[in-house]
Amino acid sequence: MKILEVKNVTKRFGGLLAVNRVTFDLEEGEILGLIGPNGAGKTTLFNCINGVYSPTEGQIVFQGKDITGLPTYRSAHLGLSRTHQIVRPLNELTVLENAMVGACYGRENMNLSDARETAMAMLEFVGMADKAELLAGTLNVAQKKRLEMARALSARPYLLLLDEVLAGLNTAEVTSMLDTIRKIREQGVTIIMIEHIMHAVMNLSDRIIVLNYGSLIAEGSPEEVSQNPEVIEAYLGDPELAERLLEEEKA
């Protein structure tokens, strides 16, 4: 069953065309990788999907319901959660309270005590339970990324948008984060992830779409996409260099 349909979505900022007639579908339970060079419009597309921006043209359908232009809190209530590329912890609140905001105001609209339980469980899940009483502002970047994840999961979403959760993490942290993402999928949550770390996104994703200058230039399995010359060129300009780098990544 289709959980999300993005139809012809365009977003303009003045003269800048950030997202250009992008169309794709998402099956329930799928992990979709969203890749593309810096400035390709990936985060803008996320912002259109969860209602931070209203698309200039086009339509977003979530679980059969047209959510185009709905305020972002509405999409949160419907079961669409996200993390931010640049982490946005609520600094003066504790880690637990951060996750509780997600639970209280997310899909299940929990009361405080249920929220506390759920939030604690999600902190446990991402390995942050021992940090629950710390102020979020005191965490390091890797911990803040995990917190973003716990916060989004506490909302009990159907669809999770992950915006570069691996960026800035060291190798060990990346491995453990990948593990966490797999476990999230096992719980039946559908995921779209924006990612720059190729081997991670190739490993995790069932399917990948590629944005370049706001347009969708390729769609397919990780294999197909990684061999698509247009993608390689978009990414690195020089196809051969790109292939070499991809080889290195795989090795």
């Binding site: 931070v52 949160a76 609520l90 105001y105």
Partner: protein, 323 residues
């Protein structure tokens, strides 16, 4: 109801009760009552402001506008329609709340400094408007005839009645403040304070939450305004809409710790005590504003979280005691 028996609520209430009954045990009860009235009123006003400023992070600089609006509404129905002070006070709160709701729909879209500026603009616009309204007495304001106090059994009885109403109201403000702080609604407000866009992405219906916070923070100043001006016997635009007065509330809030329940109580107490000490000191009596300014500067530069905020960052255990 087990939330009622937490130190976070009981400590501030105990402080207010202790202050409120102080005049009963004092030799000069009338002057003690006046001093305590000012003190308790400051605590209640700072606590009200705390809801929008401390919890929600919206710097309402001209918050005294609600004190003035409520005061005028209540005063007018007392002097022109012969209302009893208590329903008049409630009416003052209601009018302030309605105005806050209407204004909130518009100005709460503004963020940061723009919001702060808009609240100053609203205050000054309101003051200038009232000066032009003849039915509110224009620049001279309204006065209450002395005989008005008769219906409450004389001036002395009226003053005591207003005093106890003030004390009751202050406790009510604390209870409301505490319940907001420890509720889901309050969690949403604090999320807005920390990062409004992130809060919205997490599902907090920010326009609604902010409007409610603004209305709640306006109700009590509206009621208090009626009590205050009834006690004074007159109301004029200069007193009802004095920007400096609402900035004093901010100073109290910052001193004690914005965003905490106990902070405004403590900050209001320390501020008024300091002010009184300075007023009676021969060296500082002319320079009390300077001292207050220096104090504010030191807090802002070096202890921006205030006393309670500072204590709360020390440990999680202290956080549970001081909400």
């Amino acid at each position: 109801m087990k939330r009622l028996f937490k130190p976070g609520l009981l400590i501030p209430i105990a402080i207010i009760v202790a202050l409120a009954i102080w005049p009963l045990f004092s030799g000069n009860s009338a002057s003690a009552r006046e001093a305590m009235f000012t003190l308790i009123m400051s605590m209640a006003l700072a606590s009200s402001l705390n809801i929008i400023l401390g919890y929600t992070g919206y710097v309402s600089f001209g918050h005294i506008v609600f004190f003035g609006i409520g005061g005028y509404a209540g005063f007018w129905v007392i002097t022109h329609l012969g209302w009893h002070i208590l329903p008049a006070a409630l009416l003052g709160g209601l009018v302030a709340a309605i105005i806050a709701w209407l204004l909130g729909l518009a100005v709460l879209r503004l963020r940061g400094a723009y919001f702060a500026l808009a609240t100053i603009g609203i205050l000054e616009a309101m003051k200038a408007l009232v000066i032009n309204l003849d039915f509110l007495g224009g620049p001279v304001g309204l006065e209450m005839h002395f005989s008005e106090y008769k219906r409450y059994g004389g001036p002395m009885e009226s003053l005591w009645m207003v005093y106890w109403s003030m004390a009751f109201l202050a406790i009510l403000v604390i209870v409301v403040s505490y319940f907001i702080k420890t509720s889901k609604f309050g969690l949403g407000l604090m999320a807005i304070r920390e990062d409004e866009d992130a809060a919205e992405v997490m599902g907090v219906i920010t326009p609604r939450a902010k409007t409610w916070a603004y209305v709640l923070s306006a109700v009590f100043p509206g009621i208090i305004g009626v009590l205050f001006f009834f006690k004074n016997g007159n109301i004029e635009p200069g007193d009802a809409f004095r920007l400096h007065f609402s900035i004093e509330w901010i100073v109290m809030l910052m001193l004690g710790g914005a965003g905490t329940v106990l902070g405004p109580v403590l900050g209001g107490g320390i501020y008024q005590w300091l002010r009184k000490t300075l007023l009676t000191s021969p060296i500082f009596k002319d320079y009390q504003l300077v001292v207050a300014g220096v104090m504010l500067l030191i807090i802002v530069l070096f202890v921006p979280t205030g006393i309670i905020g500072w204590v709360r960052t020390r440990s999680a255990k202290l956080r549970r005691i001081f909400e």
